[in-house]
């Protein structure tokens, strides 16, 4: 089903338009607002569809802006967010991996642990992927291993490790385009990417004036009271 139709918006609408349409619909179809409605089940189904459509659109748009969709590690909340398994959100992890995989098989094959890691990553289960990878003995860790470790680390929110692993992967296989692509994506998230543009647009504050303007007197006064009392 076309997610834009579900929300009644068009592809040219802004993110805020999408958010507004979603809010209106989700308010109308929210299960809490329809407790006594005779069509409760149908309405709940509609509510689910609205949420799926909204996530799909927002993920698609994020993908376009070159942003990643980190799943948020260890989350115990059942709501599924697009992660690495979702090709559109991640800009084609599986695709990139397949290319890489073909190359790998020509040379030295891929261990079952690494295959398991790939499957975990596809399903957005980064920490399980990392566990599987750590089963591979150190002398068998090749470029692909470091690449997968980088992807899994990024999924867990471990950005420093992700950076280290991908550098090592590139060191081992300097000409591998998949590794380079991922490294660029990592760096796009970080320095030089869309976030930096936003940061520049909002201005770079030097806290002297900003951190004291809201209620400096109050803080000073309280500190004084606090010190006197003790």
């Amino acid at each position: 089903m076309d997610p834009y139709k579900v929300l009644g918006v068009s592809r040219s609408d802004s993110d805020d338009d999408i958010k507004r349409a979603y809010r209106n619909l989700s308010r109308r179809y929210h299960p809490d607002a329809n407790l006594n409605n005779p069509n409760k089940d149908a309405i709940e189904e509609k509510f689910k569809q609205i949420n799926i459509a909204y996530d799909q659109i927002m993920n698609e748009r994020k993908g376009g802006a070159g942003q990643s969709a980190g799943r948020g590690p260890g989350s115990s909340y059942g709501y599924r967010q697009a992660g690495f398994s979702d090709d559109s959100a991640f800009g084609g992890f599986s695709d990139a991996f397949r290319r890489n995989n073909e190359r790998q098989q020509q040379s030295d094959g891929i261990s079952p642990e690494m295959q398991a890691a790939v499957n975990y990553i596809r399903n957005g289960r980064s920490s399980e992927a990392m566990h599987a990878l750590l089963e591979v003995p150190e002398y068998e860790r090749n470029g692909t291993w470091f690449y997968l470790a980088s992807v899994a680390s990024q999924g867990m929110g471990n950005m420093a490790n992700a950076q280290n692993f991908i550098s090592r992967a590139i060191q081992l296989e300097p000409n591998n385009p998949t590794f380079r692509e991922f490294s660029e994506r990592l760096n796009n998230i970080g320095a030089g990417g869309w976030y930096e543009t936003g940061r520049a647009a909002y201005g770079n504050p030097y806290g002297n004036n900003s951190s004291s303007s809201w209620c400096a007197d109050l803080i000073c006064m309280n500190l004084m009271c606090f010190c006197c009392r003790c």
Partner: protein, 281 residues
Amino acid sequence: MFGFVNANPKSLSEEEKAIYQAFYCGLCRELKKRGGQKCEILLNYDSVFLALLLSGLYEPPENSFSFKCAVHPLKNREAYENEFISYAADIDIILSYESLKDRVHDGGALAYKKLLSSLEEIYRSSAGKYEDKAKAAALCVKKTTEAEEEKVSDIDILSSFTGEMLSECFVRKKDEFSEKLFSCGFYLGKYIYLLDAYYDYLSDRKKHRFNPLHLMGFSNMSDMTDFTEPLLTAYISECVNAFEMLPVLTYSGIIRNILYSGVWSRFNIAKKRYLSKEQKK
């Protein structure tokens, strides 16, 4: 909490400034309700951010009223009141209590000890309302302390404890927004942990306190900054990613101001200080 998550008033409109101020004063009044003047001292920007984010997302019924503030007796002040400002006040108390306890544990000043014992009862009341959040906060301090004692230098691991605590606090109730709020809080927590380490780099060294950045063997401050800044950017941009997935329209301008700009103000102060010191050498 640390108060790192503030706004940059320079790029806020007059209207946005007034709203921010009303949230600030609203939170201050909620704290005062819970424990009088000694609670006001706990007021910090991180909790104002939490109140803004949740109010923007859930758009609860909001009361606005003007009052005479003891600190500014001459003019009337405007304050907001809603269930999320009240929630943020309880979270503020829980997190402040834990961080104060940690400081006392580390051999902090007698003044801290006294403040801590005077907060005991107020803490119990807030923690009773939100047991999961209180547990998460205690667990974060415990895990961080243990890791520091073992001299763990992996910043991803160390920062994830603060991340886990904040993600728990960002999820007020389980619903269709939980996972996104969780993610938003997680990365903001990681950002805060790393910024705290950066900000205290020199003072921690002086006082022989643990700081993960000390373990990385940087030869000068600009190398240290070159390592920290991209990593901070990586954490905060994941936080923004999660925020942008949420259908927040109200207060979104102020929230973006904080996430893109305000969060850097303390970083910029420290960076300037570190780099100019180095140049003098």
